[in-house]
């Protein structure tokens, strides 16, 4: 009875169940693998907007159609209360703060104020390390806001990929420096997502009959 009265626990359980499908993992896995593939496309001379936009767009479409065609027909539809809706607003506010900082950071790196390791040797990690810290912190904040702890791990894997790419550049050059770490990190996340998706499909088989009241 006491458990039944713990409404925040019930709400949390209902909310977290919406992440069981592994779609977030699949989407972010594809995005991070895409970051690796981007370095190859860049070397091939493919126009920037194409590789910067196409793969994230594919990932978002996977997420959207996955939710509509796989998750909702099996698990059902739910709309959470105003508290959860506020999180969306928080994410937008956060994004509007992060984006200019990221742009400034990239400009500073391009202007060689923070010099990259491949230009100055292993002694100078300031720029990449700053970027890694920034990435991990942002992912941690988002994980907290959306109440999805796994998102923090995505940030760590992404951060590790950034620093590994910097180190690999000295040894293997481009495009392998980006392709290897981002593909590995993305694949780990993607495989985890696929495992979760398979579990989800087993747990929630699709019924052909109309599921409704009376």
């Amino acid at each position: 009875m006491t458990k039944l009265f713990n409404l925040s626990e019930i709400e949390k359980k209902a909310y977290r169940s919406t992440f069981q499908d592994g779609l977030w993992d699949i989407v972010w896995g594809v995005i991070i693998i895409g970051m690796g593939i981007n370095t190859v496309l860049k070397n091939m001379g493919v126009p920037k907007p194409l590789y910067y936009l196409v793969i994230p767009l594919i990932a978002v479409l996977i997420g959207y159609f996955g939710k509509q065609r796989i998750t909702i027909p099996r698990m059902g539809f739910v709309r959470f209360g105003p508290k959860r809706e506020q999180t969306k607003r928080k994410i937008w506010i956060l994004a509007s703060i992060i984006t200019p900082i990221q742009i400034i950071l990239i400009i500073l790196i391009k202007m060689q104020i923070f010099q990259s390791t491949f230009e100055t040797g292993l002694s100078n990690y300031v720029g990449p390390l700053f970027l890694v810290m920034f990435t991990i912190i942002i992912f941690a904040i988002i994980a907290h806001i959306i109440d999805f702890p796994r998102f923090f791990l995505f940030g760590i894997l992404m951060g590790l990929s950034i620093i590994t790419a910097e180190i690999l550049y000295l040894h293997v050059g481009s495009p392998l420096d980006g392709l290897i770490p981002f593909s590995i990190a993305g694949t780990i996340i993607l495989v985890n997502g696929l495992v979760l998706m398979v579990r989800f499909l087993k747990k929630y088989p699709r019924t052909n009959e109309e599921v409704g009241h009376g």
Partner: protein, 109 residues
């Protein structure tokens, strides 16, 4: 324990308990609907672990008591039964919670 003893121990709310809500399955349904804005039949069925028939019958009782609102709609030609708490349902659930807490708090260890 006679009635006067129950009253003196603050268990009076027990006799006022809403019996529509007091059934465990209906209590669970209301608890879920209390924490979300709305949910469809399938979501509620998966969360509560109730069978289709069972859930449907409890929903009918809750609808008759005007505690929940049932809306049938089509989303891209697929039927969806959307459920939400009514104002009176929300109030009744809160009253029930308070009454039960009061009763349970007054029970001896």
């Amino acid at each position: 324990m006679d009635k006067s003893e129950i009253d003196s121990e603050g268990l009076q709310p027990l006799s006022d308990i809403d019996r529509i809500i007091h059934e465990p399955a209906r209590l669970l349904i209301l608890a879920y609907l209390f924490v979300v804005e709305s949910a469809d039949f399938l979501f509620l069925m998966n969360q509560t672990g109730l069978t289709r028939g069972n859930l449907s019958s409890h929903l009918s009782k809750l609808e008759d008591a005007e505690y929940i609102h049932i809306k049938k709609e089509f989303v891209k030609k697929i039927p969806r039964t959307l459920l939400s708490l009514t104002k009176s349902g929300r109030k009744a659930f809160q009253t029930y919670r308070q009454s039960m807490k009061q009763v349970l708090d007054h029970l001896p260890d």
